[in-house]
């Protein structure tokens, strides 16, 4: 059979298994059907629920505005799939082409999509993590339990870690009128994601809203009573805090353990894949039948120095899943590269935060619109003379423009005249990331085109 015939036969009668029944898995499945895949489709998920949306968990659900089980993902179309929910995948047989499940069953496939995502990083000390009152927030069950406890009005909530999740939880607690302490190892909230300059604004926001924010500090121990209920927390500066709820918000861990020994290049940093979402094997050779999408994937992005980026972004899960699904049922030149410009949003303390590009690459920044003092601004991040990212606080409608600047490697600092430019926005200042990890090579490519099919990479010389 010719390649075309094989491809057609696979579209009609092939077997696709998707491991991970959350946002990426669902959107991939829908795309497969949308693009005419009529073969068998199996969805495997370790949670018993139908795919649901996570962003509301740390916002509307924790505010008590919406029950935790009321965030199902809207379906774009009927799927006609076999659903295996509530059973985790435990292994992958690459040569035998089977996924092993926790209940002992084996599911054969012709092509596999890995979309197992991440889970919350638990508190380091297991015994302390088991105390009644210690929570993480990742699943809808987590949100339901935490919401129940917040509704019972604890005396004080301790949040360990002031990244986006920790800050959103702190915001929800304050909106409910609860006393909140946030303990952050870095010098400010969000500092790992947005740098110290913007982190300082986040710190002001927290304090203005009555958060007891403590930076440059770690939690050394959580302590419970004889009944196993959390009673207090010990901090690295020697203070002891009376708390009955602690939320561990120390980031996520990638769900790759089930792939151990499978021969796929999977590890703590995710599953490495090429720009077409095809997983690498442990030799670094691209597989042709194993695809990856969503939080668990690490793929190289030409626009950002071909760095392997792993992004825990909602939009990444959707777009990467769509590209992966398309490529799973396409061959050769019909396959698309995954060229999404990273973007994420957050809502906290009444402010809508939106980001595009890779702020952590930016060594300098300038406030191009609005003002830090008003907590309403757009900031552009620069790296080696080009725009690499932009973040808006309550100014999200401008971000598309900055995304185009990033895509076209526009020069930084930005010198053009524009609306609402204040004197502070006229010069670039260091962005103050605590530990900048700078890639080694300069701007060599730009993106053009809008729709997925005419997205193109063009090599351009670095601006000196």
């Amino acid at each position: 059979m010719s390649v075309d015939e094989l491809s057609r036969a696979f579209r009609q009668h092939g077997r696709i298994v998707i491991v991970g029944a959350s946002l990426a898995g669902l959107r991939a499945a829908e795309t497969l059907r949308e693009e005419g895949f009529t073969g068998s489709l199996t969805m495997i998920g370790d949670e018993p629920q139908e795919p649901y949306d996570r962003p509301p968990l740390s916002k509307q659900v924790l505010l008590g505005h919406m029950p935790a089980d009321a965030t199902p993902l809207p379906r774009r179309r009927a799927l006609d799939a076999q659903w295996r929910l509530g059973v985790a995948a435990t292994g992958l047989d690459l040569t035998g082409r089977q996924v092993r499940l926790a209940d002992g069953e084996e599911v054969p496939f012709d092509r596999l999509l890995i979309a197992t995502g991440t889970r919350a990083r638990p508190w380091v000390k297991e015994a302390e993590a088991d105390l009644d009152g210690v929570f993480v927030l990742r699943t809808s069950d987590d949100a339901a339990r935490l919401n129940r406890r917040l509704t019972a009005r604890p005396r004080r909530v301790l949040i360990v870690g002031a990244g986006f999740t920790g800050s959103e939880i702190a915001s929800a607690c304050r909106e409910r009128g609860l006393e909140v302490t946030v303990a952050e190892r870095g010098p400010a909230p969000l500092v790992g994601a947005l740098g110290g300059v913007i982190g300082a604004v986040a710190a002001e926001l927290q304090r203005e809203h009555g958060v007891d924010l403590r930076c440059g500090i770690t939690v050394t121990a959580l302590e419970g009573d004889s009944a196993g209920r959390l009673t207090c927390a010990h901090l690295s500066d020697g203070t002891v805090l009376d708390v009955d709820v602690a939320v561990i918000a120390l980031g996520a861990m990638r769900n790759t353990e089930w792939l151990a020994g499978s021969g796929v290049a999977a590890g703590p940093r995710g599953v490495a894949c090429d720009a077409g979402c095809r997983a690498f094997d442990i030799h670094g050779i691209v597989t042709d039948d194993i695809f990856v999408a969503g939080d668990v994937a690490r793929s190289p992005h030409p626009l950002f120095g071909y760095q392997f980026l792993s992004l825990e972004h909602w939009g990444n899960a959707v777009t990467q899943a769509e590209v992966a699904a398309h490529n799973m049922i396409s061959s050769g030149p019909d396959r698309l590269p995954y060229l999404w410009v990273p973007a994420f949003w957050s809502a906290q303390f009444g402010v809508n935060i939106k980001s595009t590009g890779v702020p952590t690459m930016g060594d300098k920044l300038m406030i191009t619109q609005g003002s830090l003092a008003e907590h309403r601004f757009t900031v552009a991040y620069g790296f080696q003379g080009r725009v690499i990212a932009a973040v808006a606080f309550d100014q999200a409608r401008w971000l598309d423009f900055y995304r185009r600047l990033i895509e076209t490697a526009a020069p930084f600092p930005l010198e053009f005249a524009n609306v609402d430019r204040r004197p502070e926005g006229l010069r670039a200042v260091p962005s103050e990331f605590p530990d900048p990890s700078l890639p080694s090579h300069g701007p060599t490519v730009t993106l053009s085109g809008y729709s997925p099919s005419d997205r193109k990479v063009t090599f351009t010389p670095a601006r000196m």
Partner: protein, 410 residues
């Protein structure tokens, strides 16, 4: 044909009924300099990117005077400017203040809660067709309905409608950028109308301040938020904007919608059988026959390099939304009316910071109105095709829309 004459043709009243072939022509040059120095932008992606470009100003004070520029620079300094013509940070502050009594986060259910009342208004107007076999959809329905809604929402006495209708007509006429038809005269009439409307609103708002009701003017006059309050002058400017924008565009959305449905009887029948179709159908209408055809008041704050053309600093820019909406590079089968079109991110409400303030209300009004018209008019027929149009090329819609029908259903 030069593009200069092309734009003249688009604004020419003779082509009001069907400007779309001219837009197709216009899109051959996505960004085109016209004879009078105006830059027209007619393709989807270019319009969208300029709507998000902070180098574009909505404030006419940033415009470098062009020979033959259709829009006058001379604004009467005693007349306040509404936020549609302002840039951040003033724009943002005023729009935030105006949003507080209208939508989320403070009033998330304002529009939703009007559903019952809107349904009643629609039913009452259609009940009024009783005993007739022909109506003018514009005069008998598409105009009175949004006017009643905006009066209710803002807290304007319904009986004053006749007064502000005259002012609104004069103000809207001045938005007509056609230089051939006495712009200076229209401008004077518009300023006169603005002053009179301003005095009227000042009194009205003062009444609401003393005896507040559950309406937006009362809330704007009495509510204190994190941004404080609007000054009396700002309140009047906002009032003029909301009153006019709230009743001039929805008329066109509903009448363009009914016209399109009558030209697509299969779709009309489907809507009758499945009211749920109204949601995607109204989106497609906003793409296919947008009530706001173009935005003629943007100005470049810097040289802008786009689609191979540099728009110089200070130049006036017209964003031709209706043309972008039919750009085949963005919408497959763009000239076709497809009520269930997917991926329909049209420019019908604009985009960016000036995105239509009343969009949620306009959507609801059009959905309810078209569903009920489709359901209750038995065998509706278009009497004139094309119908006579209103003068304005910016806010385009039929002046009259005569529809004959066999019977009025319950």
């Amino acid at each position: 044909m030069t593009s200069g004459t092309l734009l003249r043709q688009i604004t020419d009243y003779a082509n009001r009924a069907d400007p779309y072939p001219l837009y197709t022509e216009l899109r051959r040059t996505p960004v085109a300099r016209q004879d009078d120095g105006v830059y027209t932008v007619s393709t989807y992606w270019e319009i969208l990117s300029l709507l998000h470009d902070p180098r574009l100003s909505s404030d006419l004070r940033n415009r470098v005077p062009q020979p033959g520029d259709a829009l006058p620079l001379e604004e009467d300094p005693s007349l306040p400017v509404s936020f549609i013509r302002l840039d951040p940070p003033e724009h943002d502050r005023l729009r935030r203040l105006a949003t507080r009594p209208f939508g989320p986060p403070k009033c998330p259910r304002r529009v939703f809660n009007m559903r019952g009342e809107l349904t009643r208004m629609v039913s009452d107007l259609i009940d009024g067709f009783q005993g007739r076999n022909q109506v003018d959809i514009v005069d008998d329905f598409a105009y009175p309905f949004p006017v009643a809604v905006i009066c209710k929402l803002l807290g304007v006495p319904r009986q004053d409608e006749a007064r502000f209708h005259v002012w609104a007509e004069a103000i809207v006429a001045a938005l007509d950028p056609n230089p051939a038809e006495g712009p200076a005269e229209r401008q004077r009439a518009s300023q006169q109308a603005r002053s009179e409307m301003g005095r009227y609103l000042a009194e009205l708002i003062e009444e609401h301040r003393h005896v507040p009701g559950d309406d937006m003017f009362s809330a704007l006059a009495t509510d204190h938020g994190p941004d404080g309050q609007m000054t009396p002058v700002e309140l009047i400017a906002t009032g003029v904007l909301l009153l006019i924008a709230g009743h001039e565009t929805t008329v066109n959305l509903i009448s363009n919608g009914m016209l399109t449905l009558l030209r697509h009887p299969d779709v009309l029948k489907r809507l009758r059988d499945d009211p749920g179709l109204a949601v995607p159908l109204v989106e497609e209408l906003l793409r296919y026959e947008p009530p706001v055809q173009l935005l003629p008041q943007r100005t470049a704050l810097d040289d802008i390099d786009i689609a191979g053309t540099v728009i110089p600093k200070g130049a006036p820019i017209w964003l031709v939304l209706a043309s972008g909406n039919r750009d085949p590079k963005r919408f497959p089968d763009a000239e076709r009316f497809e009520p269930e079109r997917r991926d329909n991110q049209h420019l019908g409400f604009g985009s960016g910071i000036h995105y239509c303030f009343g969009a949620p209300l306009a959507r609801l009004e059009a959905q309810l109105a078209l569903t009920e018209l489709a359901r209750r008019l038995d065998n509706p027929q278009l009497v004139n095709d094309p119908p006579p149009y209103r003068r304005n090329p910016v806010l385009r819609g039929p002046r009259h829309l005569s529809v004959a029908f066999d019977d009025l259903l319950a």
